[in-house]
């Protein structure tokens, strides 16, 4: 089952197996007619209706959409009439049919546009993969990140030495995170490539706008950074505490 078939199955355009042969015949007929009809694009436009507008850029999808419309078989069958009687009758008939099938058409249209976006994303991912492998270390440990980690470790040592007698150890950490939020604008922002994952592709396919996805991914990565900082802070704090306990108990 290829992707077009899958799409048509999702959108509810089921086609019985027996129809395949007749459908291919009609398609062939249409193709033959194309050569006889002086303006072939017109007939195609009539058949597809408003789907043509969005599918114009993606010729392959457009053709696949034509291929998998079992319901539109009658439209294909009347194609020879176009050659003999002109396009007016066909237009009237197709309009009547399109009114009935407007909603699934629209859904298919939307789905195909999303599918195109997902395919673009996939291509982008495929092209980015080698470069990510090369520059992964540089991307992950930029100056601001190192600064954050070192800052958290130093704060933990300071808190263990002086502050924690008076208040919770998480209060200075939160203050430090607020300070980092302010300081982040003074650091050179490394060009963060949008990490295209299976999750983003799935979200795109489910109809969430790319802008929302990129923002949520950004927020997610920021939360991850804060969690990493918290881990480093907590680890350093415990480590210092245990060292202090060990040496203080050994001293006397």
């Amino acid at each position: 089952m290829n992707s077009e078939e899958r799409i048509s199955r999702i959108m509810g355009f089921h086609r019985p197996k027996a129809d395949d042969d007749t459908h291919s015949e009609t398609k062939l007929q249409l193709e033959q007619d194309k050569s006889t009809i002086p303006v072939p694009s017109v007939s195609k436009r009539v058949v597809l209706g408003d789907t043509v507008c969005s599918l114009a850029g993606t010729a392959d999808h457009g053709s696949s959409a034509v291929e998998h419309k079992g319901e539109k078989k009658d439209l294909f069958n009347i194609a020879p009439e176009v050659g003999s009687d002109g396009t007016t009758e066909l237009r009237q008939r197709s309009r009547g049919d399109l009114m009935e099938q407007r909603t699934p058409q629209h859904g298919l249209d939307q789905y195909l546009s999303r599918f195109d976006e997902a395919m673009k994303l996939r291509n982008q991912l495929m092209s980015e993969k080698p470069s990510q492998e090369n520059g992964n270390a540089a991307e992950e440990f930029d100056s601001f990140r190192i600064f954050r980690l070192v800052g958290c470790a130093l704060l933990a040592i300071g808190v263990r030495a002086f502050v924690c007698k008076y208040l919770s150890i998480f209060a200075p950490f939160l203050t430090l995170q607020l300070a980092y939020m302010g300081l982040s604008q003074y650091f050179p922002k490394s060009e963060k490539k949008t990490k295209t994952t299976v999750l983003t592709a799935a979200l795109l396919l489910s109809g969430i706008p790319a802008e929302v996805i990129s923002r949520s991914m950004d927020t997610y990565s920021k939360m991850g950074d804060v969690f990493t900082d918290l881990c480093v802070y907590f680890f350093t704090f415990i480590f210092c505490h245990e060292l202090l306990v060990f040496f203080c108990s050994e001293a006397p």
């Binding site: 480093v232 680890f235 245990e242």
Partner: protein
């Protein structure tokens, strides 16, 4: 009386070193994970003893090809054809050999990976089992407010650092520390 005191001190030391034990386990696991590809290649080299035979075959084919280049096809056709057949036969044999060896190599690597992950899982489960009810280290509960319950999970000891929290923290920190080497 003194023996009891010594035993109690030893138990206290063991409890005090729990955080270090968990940390070193996590560190070792992560280190082994990084070294796993090289380890598996070394082990597979040790297990596969017919590499020399393969190199011998390669050199033989090379020699025969050189010999073939010196023979004139027109003048000594029979000899030429015989040698060519021999080369083809040996090349086929080498191909089969290499194919078998590659499959065996993949299998060894797969087994080593599986064994490693099983051991790692067993170690983690045993650590969690051991420190399920007792904290790896204890701090004054005031210091950990308002997250003391979360940090102490699943022990429920006020001010204690639970095994789950400590494992997560250790994993994260060790991953950061070992990132330049991976």
């Amino acid at each position: 009386m003194s023996e009891q005191r010594v035993e109690a001190e030893t138990a206290t030391d063991a409890a005090a070193a729990a955080w270090l034990l968990v940390l070193s386990s996590v560190f070792l696991c992560n280190l082994l994970k990084i070294l796993l590809p090289s380890c598996s290649s070394v082990i597979s080299k040790l297990l596969q003893k017919d590499v020399e035979q393969e190199s011998q075959m390669r050199s033989d084919i090379q020699n025969m090809k050189q010999e073939l280049a010196t023979i004139s096809m027109m003048d000594e056709f029979a000899r030429y054809a015989r040698l060519e057949r021999k080369i083809n036969k040996m090349t086929d044999k080498l191909k089969t050999h290499v194919k078998t060896r590659t499959a065996q190599l993949a299998k060894i690597k797969w087994v080593i990976n599986i064994v490693f992950y099983i051991l790692q899982a067993a170690l983690m489960i045993s650590l969690i089992w051991k420190y399920y009810s007792e904290p790896v280290t204890v701090l004054p509960s005031k210091w950990l407010a308002p997250l003391e319950r979360l940090v102490a999970f699943p022990t429920g000891v006020a001010g204690g650092v639970g095994i789950t929290c400590w494992l997560v923290v250790c994993n994260k920190v060790v991953a950061i520390m070992l990132h330049p080497f991976s």
